[in-house]
């Protein structure tokens, strides 16, 4: 068990090093960081959402969008570079199991996205804090109630986003284990992310009573197979306190995210076990 863990960690370490050296990662990180920092300038286009809300949405939007792109493209690229360059031949000829290889890829890619989320969340927190100070001072002068944000909520949201990206990585790895080409994995992975973002439609429909057992069965199956990625978008509730969520709801989201992650990684490992290298 310990030896297996060690092999997995070594593969994830090299995967991480490979990923952070990619220009694609640097490009998206810089682009997203620029988006977070420029949100203060763009707030002149805001139509009364409340400045902090606009800044937060701009930054988290970048984290969501570019994070998803990175999770899909980078994961598929990391996987297929091993297969196409035949480095996988060297690795898998060693006492490394297919599951260890896949887990190593997963943890390496997840660590890179952890860096991505941490950098952006730190920048976002700094920008929000700086603007909050100005708004609080202005509100005190005008005798108004200042708008504020929750730092703890920001940390929770960053962790939720990281988990969401982890689920995306695990889906893309499962698809890559089956796919023959990088392009197929990226296209199907992207569609899976879109389906995951829209899964709540089926989830909502399932919660409503229906007369058709076939329709109900279809909804039930699709809500089991497709992950609900929308449930991680709790920026308003956690960071700005604009809407309330139940106690323990965030923990429940964490738990379901981890369960999805484990399920898709297991699917990926089982498919990859049969793949000919």
């Amino acid at each position: 068990m310990q030896a297996s863990l060690r092999r997995t960690l070594w593969i994830s370490r090299v995967t991480f090093l490979e990923a952070v050296r990619q220009r694609f990662f640097a490009f998206l990180l810089v682009l997203s960081a620029a988006m977070v920092l420029s949100s203060v300038s763009f707030r002149v286009f805001d139509f009364g959402h409340g400045e902090l809300k606009f800044i937060a949405d701009f930054g988290f939007g970048g984290m969501f969008f570019f994070g998803s792109v990175l999770a899909v493209v980078m994961t598929a690229q990391l996987f297929f570079s091993e297969i196409d360059n035949r480095t996988a031949l060297t690795l898998l000829a060693k006492p490394v199991s297919r599951a260890e290889f896949l887990l190593g890829k997963f943890f390496g890619a997840w660590a890179v996205l952890g860096v991505f989320v941490a950098v952006l969340a730190s920048l976002q927190g700094t920008v929000l804090w700086a603007r909050e100070q100005e708004l609080v001072a202005q509100a005190e002068q005008a005798g108004r109630i200042p708008t504020t944000f929750s730092f703890g909520g920001l940390v929770q949201l960053a962790l939720l986003q990281w988990l969401r990206l982890g689920v995306v990585i695990s889906i893309v790895l499962a698809i890559s284990a089956l796919a023959r080409t990088f392009l197929f994995a990226v296209v199907v992975g992207s569609l899976a992310v879109v389906a995951g973002q829209l899964q709540w439609i089926a989830q909502d429909a399932l919660l409503r009573p229906t007369d058709s057992p076939v329709y109900a069965a279809f909804l039930w199956v699709s809500t089991r197979i497709i992950p609900n990625l929308q449930q991680f978008n709790l920026a308003d509730a956690l960071v700005l306190g604009a809407s309330a969520v139940e106690d323990g709801a965030v923990f429940a989201v964490f738990l379901s995210g981890l369960a999805y992650l484990a399920a898709y990684l297991t699917v990926g490992a089982l498919i990859f076990r049969r793949r000919e290298i």
Binding site: F42, F45, D46, F47, G48, H49, G50, K53, F54, D57, F58, F60, G61, G62, M63, F64, F65, V194, Q197, L198, W200, I201, Q203, D204, L206, L207, T223, R224, I225, P227, N228, L229, Q230, Q231, N233, L234, D236, A237, A242, S243, A244, V245, E246, G248, A249, V250, A252, V253, L255, S256, A259, Y260, A262, A263, T266, V267, L270
Partner: protein, 256 residues
């Protein structure tokens, strides 16, 4: 059997994950009111889909709102309303969208419809009045819906009062909106007076005086200069109601 055991495990994991997600979704659903709104459906092809998918909703809402101006300038009711409703749906906490969508629908669109039908000279007065009422009601519906989501409800109540009186000619309803606005923590100074005046105008004079007096005694008198203009209006009501000396508000030391 051993061959299928791992897939059985996967099945159980997926089922477990799905059940957990269903449970967590039930709990967080109310915290994400901006999704699942039918108002978004007509404008999904205009970039709104990105906002529906998650992230950048505020930005997409702003863009939808800016784009609604294009339709507003063309006096295209359907296009303008679809995009305004999209902006509201994408960011339901933003008071600005609800307030302006409600007012644009309630104030402008009846005029567009009258022009479309040939102009004020051609459309009969009663039809015009019906259209003003019809669109005023629609604007009011938007404002009422926004009250359920927007952080600043007071501004929406004031806009609703304005539409109820101006377009629906229902001063009783307007009085009710202004009263709710006056009772809010961030009530503007004029809301109580307008509410009392409309209720008075609706014929509920005693109720209007009682409410206005209690409001002035509890909310207005303790602050600043005691709101002398409101006291003057209350004195006028007392005179019209012919109240006895003991039934009136005691004379204030600063009262002229």
């Amino acid at each position: 059997m051993r061959r299928f055991a791992p897939w059985l495990l996967v099945g159980l994991l997926v089922l477990g994950a799905g059940a957990l997600a269903e449970s967590s979704w039930r709990r967080v659903r109310t915290g994400i009111p901006e999704i699942g709104r039918k108002e978004l459906e007509p404008s999904l092809g205009q970039g709104v889909l990105l906002g529906v998918l998650g992230g950048l909703r505020t930005v997409v809402a702003d863009i939808a709102w800016i784009r609604s101006y294009v339709f507003w300038e063309r006096r295209d009711r359907a296009g303008c309303e679809a995009l305004m409703r999209s902006a509201c749906a994408l960011d339901p906490h933003a008071r600005y969208f609800w307030e302006n969508a409600g007012l644009r629908i309630g104030l402008d669109m009846a005029h567009w419809e009258i022009r479309r039908r040939g102009g004020y000279a051609k459309v009969p007065a009663e039809t015009q009045q019906r259209l003003f009422q019809q669109y005023g009601r629609r604007g009011l519906d938007v404002l009422e819906e926004g009250m359920g989501y927007a952080r600043n409800r007071t501004a929406l109540l004031l806009a609703a009062g304005f539409l109820a009186e101006g377009k629906l000619k229902d001063v009783g309803l307007a009085a009710n909106y202004y009263r709710q606005a006056a009772e809010a923590a961030d009530a503007p100074w004029y809301a109580a007076r307008i509410s009392a005046d409309f209720e008075w105008g609706a014929g509920r004079k005693v109720e209007a005086y009682r409410w206005y007096r209690r409001y002035w005694e509890t909310r207005l008198r303790p602050i600043q200069d005691g709101f002398p203009d409101d006291l003057v209006r209350l004195r006028g009501m007392e005179n019209e109601l012919r109240l006895g000396l003991l039934q009136r508000i005691p004379r204030q030391p600063w009262e002229r």
